[in-house]
Symmetry: C2
Subunit: 359 residues, 2 copies
């Protein structure tokens, strides 16, 4: 099994987990109430067609529910897509999350990693890909990108989709963190899916809603051929009753959504300031709910920072679980104000000591 | 999507569902308590290795946890196995559940259906299969079989496994309903897995515990090559947090297990008597928590009985979702005493009227 964040199971349970990016506001009350009132959802098989769930997601993202695929987490949809794309090659924009590669390889698709992160502009540069487009391929772009936090504009994505279309190639966009973006509708590819049948977007429903354990993801495409292929492949009841129930309430929980938007706007800014005050680190700008951090001194390895931070009670995310990222980088989640302050204090101390040792 | 039982979502919600075989004792209190006390399990990713869950299952079935595969429902494991068996052909003992066929075909394996139900002895006759064994194939047998309710003896299964071994063939046994059998340890293939590495058993953890909505299944094999292949293929976090939590408590809930065993022993016998008193029906003996019923008069189609029973407020299981079963059969669940009595009364009336119309 690959390495991922949030793996607190082989560690001291008292660690504060800055390695996985989960909304610190916790479980929406609307879901807690629904679960306690409807605990008997577990006694029935879920709706094999997930009609109500798809409708609820459709309302939330303002999309016809007939274009929506649901899955046991976003990762599950990516694995299914890998088996359905009529392609022989996948081009992955890196650095990024490692599961795209694993999903494509498991489906027997050749994977090419393309390093397109522009370290001057601090964002993905699609023009690098556009110079040499592969025919009958799927291009995979995470937006905002995990772990860089960078965000691509809608018009750039649409232009790229258009070019790919001419080469019979697909664009798979992972928008797992799009809900955390300020004004996501201005960035999401959802807006132009109707015009581009070669585009598929995948989202994790439960990151923003603080419940990765519930396993609920969704995908959207207007490509009926691809859609039908995936539906045909889907295992029956692949989404559990708790996720089905959550999906019927959380997307309408305006209060939770508003609170989360307020929290991320405030804490993204505040934590960014705190991190920037720490010597020896470069902090990448982010549109998501995490920061990518680079250790400037090449003598200081991330494993060292990782170990020292564990001693202080904090778990950070090392480059394991990502492709295209070297050993100078780590990722930290944005949490509640006091946690962020304490974490940054601890990190400052660790870095001060390590820089001292290097002198 | 295929047809299955329990699909009450496109029907009147007031129907009593005799189409899906779920423990009427409901959700174990141990799980309800655990969920209400640990609702925050949803805020974390599940353990990517599911160590504790595997340990708990291992204790329950008295098997080393290193031989246990866990999945998002038993069906999920069957789909994964289909991709991992080093075979080109699957031989399915029918009549049986349709998902084996769908899983094998989805994985590109040629499927052969072998009708081996002996209508005189009311059980599967493995000797039909043994006459002509396929090399490099997987044989799939559901035991007790869904929907016939018939049960094969351990020594017959072991003998069959031995024969298959000589032909480099595998035996996949679906024991989804084994927990409902009287003295299951005398019938389960678990007993001889150590000696036969060509055998894999799959079980649904949550049928017996009244919670199909939770999606938890497990498989057991001592074949390390096959085991590693499946583990490599597994999507990360494919079991949700509610299922993980359930797995850590329900298998130790002796009170619930004892109550369920008492219920099934009493009601299986009682309902069998009631059904046998209805004219025009043949009732197959069962070792599970359902009865297969055959309409003796060929002029009366199951759809007619289905419609009339819906009018009376009951859902029965038509042969949709099974292979090798013709239109004269239906399956009914065993529920609580009063529900069973009311159901049998309604069925008796329906059959009396239909037989009257045939005269």
């Amino acid at each position: 099994m690959n390495y991922h964040g949030g793996n607190i199971y082989d560690k001291n349970k008292n660690l504060v987990d800055f390695s996985s990016n989960i909304n610190p506001l916790g479980i929406p009350e609307s879901f807690q109430k629904a679960l306690f009132c409807h605990i008997d959802v577990f006694t029935k098989y879920p709706d094999i067609n997930y009609n109500r769930l798809k409708q609820s997601i459709g309302n939330y993202i303002n999309t016809d529910s007939s274009n929506i695929i649901v899955g046991n987490g976003a990762v599950n949809i990516i694995y299914h897509l890998a088996k359905c794309f009529p392609v022989s090659k996948a081009v992955i924009a890196v650095p990024t999350f490692s599961e795209y590669k694993r999903a494509m390889e498991t489906a027997g698709i050749e994977v090419v990693e393309k390093e397109i992160f522009d370290f001057d502009k601090m964002t993905f540069d699609l023009s690098i890909l556009e110079k040499e487009i592969e025919r009958d391929a799927v291009y995979i772009v995470c937006n905002p990108n995990n772990p860089t936090g960078s965000l691509l504009e809608q018009d750039k994505m649409q232009n790229f989709a258009q070019i790919l279309e001419q080469f019979h190639s697909f664009l798979l966009v992972d928008e797992a963190f799009m809900d955390f973006v300020f004004e996501p509708q201005k960035y999401s590819v959802l807006k132009f899916l109707k015009e581009h049948q070669n585009v598929v977007v995948v989202r994790a429903a439960t990151k923003f809603f603080g419940m990765p354990g519930i396993r609920l993801g969704y995908g959207v495409t207007t490509n009926k051929e691809l859609f039908n292929k995936i539906e045909k492949l889907a295992e029956p009841w692949n989404i559990n009753a708790a996720a089905e129930l959550a999906g019927s309430v959380i997307f309408q929980d305006r209060d939770y959504i508003a609170k989360t938007k307020k929290w991320i706007e405030e804490e993204r800014c505040h934590m960014g300031q705190l991190l920037k005050e720490i010597n020896g680190l470069f902090i990448f700008p982010t549109a998501a709910n995490f920061y990518l951090v680079q250790i400037e001194n090449r003598k200081i390895y991330v494993e060292l920072v990782y170990k020292k931070m564990i001693q202080k009670g904090y778990l950070i995310r090392t480059p394991n679980g990502f492709i295209g990222l070297d050993k100078q980088f780590f990722r930290v989640a944005i949490k509640g104000r006091q946690d962020n302050i304490n974490f940054c204090k601890a990190l400052k101390k660790v870095m001060t000591n390590l820089l001292e040792d290097c002198k």
